[in-house]
Amino acid sequence: MDLSFSAEDLAFQREVRSFIAENYPADIKARFDAGLEPRKEDFVRWQKILFEKGWVAPAWPKEYGGTGWTATQKYIFQEELGAANTPGIIPFGLSMVGPVIYTFATEEQKKRFLPGILSSDVWWCQGYSEPGSGSDLASLKTKAVRQGDKYIVNGSKTWTTMAQWADWIFCLVRTDSSVKQQEGISFLLFDMKSPGVTVRPIITMDGGHEVNECFFDNVEVPVENLIGQEGMGWTYAKFLLGHERSGIAAVARSKRGIAKLKQIANTEQSDGSPLIEDPDYRRKLAELEIDLTALEYTELRTLARESQGKGPGPESSILKIKGTEIQQAITELAVEAAGYYAFAYNRRAMDGANEPVVGPAATAFAAPSYFNMRKTSIYGGSNEIQKNIIAKMVLGL
């Protein structure tokens, strides 16, 4: 047992750190540090920089464009990206459909789709949830009926993140209604510019536009866009859900969030002293930081098991639950620090309009961020569902 990095790991850390320092565009950094709503071009530009360096897909096998790093190196890489507050890797292509494609697709499909994912030239979105399905994903109703060499897709998807920017969608569709729910689902890719695809924005309560409803009205999809076998979509989806969970602890980002909270609490005044000297606020910050440390070491232990080839198992649901609780708590404390200025709704400034904010810049978006982060305990399998998973898969209940 040893907490220190090896000399090789330390060298790697230095390499990553200086690469980021030299290549992370200042204008994107400024937008992200200010907490503005991200733009598509920021994500794409940053991912292309990583792609040029060969670092955009550390989780992928080397043959498909991965880095061949050890688990520790991957961890260090994630930590450094988080600490530098770079745009998060948009998961839909690189973490979701990519792995499904290189694992289950034909050679031809791999050649067709993987390059665009790696280069970020094709933006993907995820067609899973439906208005009626919620956490009960397998109850989905969107239908794909085969007609000759095409599927005709009808139905709708919802909570489709960043669909407004997407070129392609990977979509769970029902190809057979006569069998058990899970067995009638297929995994289909199609172009969002196909006739019959409509995207309607869903504005969330913080005023942001991240998610959408997608309607499919007789969308024609060539059969060669089916991944794997018809009826096996649920298997691929489950495979993908396992992938989606890695990195969900978001330790590095939460560390940055806490560092920012400390900065704020050192500036904001309470009865003539910095808020950080208020014993209640100080205690809550300390508790949060300790929670995060515990999560960090729990993640490292998971990593250690993983590098021994055991996992990531259902234990990683802990990372989702605790990670999102901490992310939410950070935004709660930011609202508390903001005091009355939390009231001010600086939406236009947050969307990037060149407009001054009301109150201190550091807390200008505290309330919308708090509202927005409530989603984290809902999406990606709600925290209640994660507990069901642990109860069943880990505790055997």
């Binding site: 309560m205 009355y340 009231f343 600086n346 809902i378």
Partner: protein
């Protein structure tokens, strides 16, 4: 000891509830939020006609002589409907200051119009770095011929954009956080030297940053006693705190009912989610949080006329309970509604946002815990 409403109070409940149901549905409110003014003047007139704006004022002042219970009733119903009109600012805050501290002249000038619904008012008690300390006043009032000159800045003045009259706290003597030396002034919103930066709030209200850059006021514009404004302001803020506790109770009730209804009807894994025991117990916890909050809101309202020490403790205790209950119920209502709870188009998020701001308004849970334990 009696927890029952009088017949007159029951009529008031009916009247406000009917208004919410008939005239203030969710789409009406959405339209108000998007409008230029951020409130509906015709509805406000209606409040006047129905007598709601006259409720807390004495019959001598031309009011209805209602008690804190009537204000509680109105605010609780307003909480159910998420009413954004400036009742809190105009009637409870500004009205309260005039009621308890206004001169005959001030009352005669302001109150009739206020009660008729033709005059709106707002109160500036906070400053950029004062946080929740009402005694932390940097705005100065310097003695001048026949009156005072005000200089300073008041922040997050709720309902400031629509106010015709302002009442602001300023320092006539003493150090920055001294309770002594604070004086309240009635200021015309359009007076020379008053400038406003207006903005919407995250929970659908409007507010202003107000700069007072050499605003001249007369001696007759002092509300209450020179240098002794703190006690008056604190009393009225306590009354307003009890009022928003009641508002929060109304909002929590609606939110809990909506979530309960959703749990009964939303089917997942082949059954309504309300059949899952974890969801059931969550709803029970929300119900208990609501009941405890309701008990405390009543308690606080009934203690507003107690001795200051008892009133302070009662109000702070209530605000702590309401703050905790509001956070729990708000968060869980969103959680149990899943993705739908996150959207702007469902009412759940709007209640959640209002409850979040009430948690902060007039001092958050930490502030009131300390004030209670002081």
């Amino acid at each position: 000891m009696d927890f029952n409403y009088s017949d007159e109070q029951k009529l008031l409940i009916d009247s406000v509830e009917r208004f919410i149901q008939d005239d203030y549905d969710f789409d009406t409110r959405r339209a108000i939020l998007k409008s230029e003014d951020g409130f509906r003047r015709d509805l406000w007139q209606k409040f006047g006609e129905l007598g709601w704006l006259a409720v807390p004022f004495s019959e001598e002042d031309g009011g209805l002589g209602g008690t804190a219970v009537e204000t509680m009733i109105i605010m609780e119903c307003f909480g159910r409907g998420l009413v954004v009109e400036p009742y809190l600012s105009t009637v409870v805050l500004a009205g309260g200051l005039l009621r308890h501290g206004g001169t005959t002249g001030q009352k005669e000038t302001v109150l009739p119009e206020l009660m008729a619904g033709t005059l709106l008012a707002a109160v500036g008690y906070a400053e950029p770095t004062s946080r929740f300390n009402l005694a932390d006043v940097s705005t100065t009032a310097e003695k001048a011929a026949g009156g005072y000159v005000l200089k300073g800045r008041k922040s997050v003045v709720l309902h400031g954009p629509m106010a015709d009259k302002l009442i602001v706290s300023a320092r006539t003597s003493g150090g920055r956080r001294d309770e002594a030396g604070i004086t309240l002034f009635l200021v015309d919103a359009g007076a020379a030297g008053v400038s406003r930066q207006d903005y919407p709030t995250v929970d659908g209200l409007r507010a202003s940053e107000i700069v007072l850059d050499g605003v001249s006021v007369g001696e007759g514009d002092v509300v209450g006693v020179v240098g002794e404004g703190f006690a008056l302001l604190e009393r009225v803020i306590d009354e307003a705190t009890a009022a928003i506790c009641a508002e929060a109770v109304g909002a929590m009730e609606t939110l809990h009912k909506a979530t309960l209804e959703y749990a009964r009807t939303r089917v997942q894994f082949g059954q309504p989610i309300g059949r899952f025991q974890v969801i059931q117990h969550r709803l029970v916890d929300m119900y208990m949080a609501y009941e405890q909050a309701k008990s405390m809101a009543i308690m606080a309202s009934l203690k507003l006329d107690a001795a200051p020490e008892e009133r302070r403790r009662a109000v702070s205790a209530a605000k702590v309970q309401i703050g905790k209950s509001a956070r729990f119920i708000g968060q869980q209502a969103v959680q149990l509604h899943g993705g739908m709870g996150m959207t702007d188009e469902l009412n759940v998020g709007h209640y959640f946002k209002r409850l979040t701001m009430i948690e902060t308004l007039f001092g958050n849970t930490d502030f009131h815990l300390k004030r209670y334990a002081a």
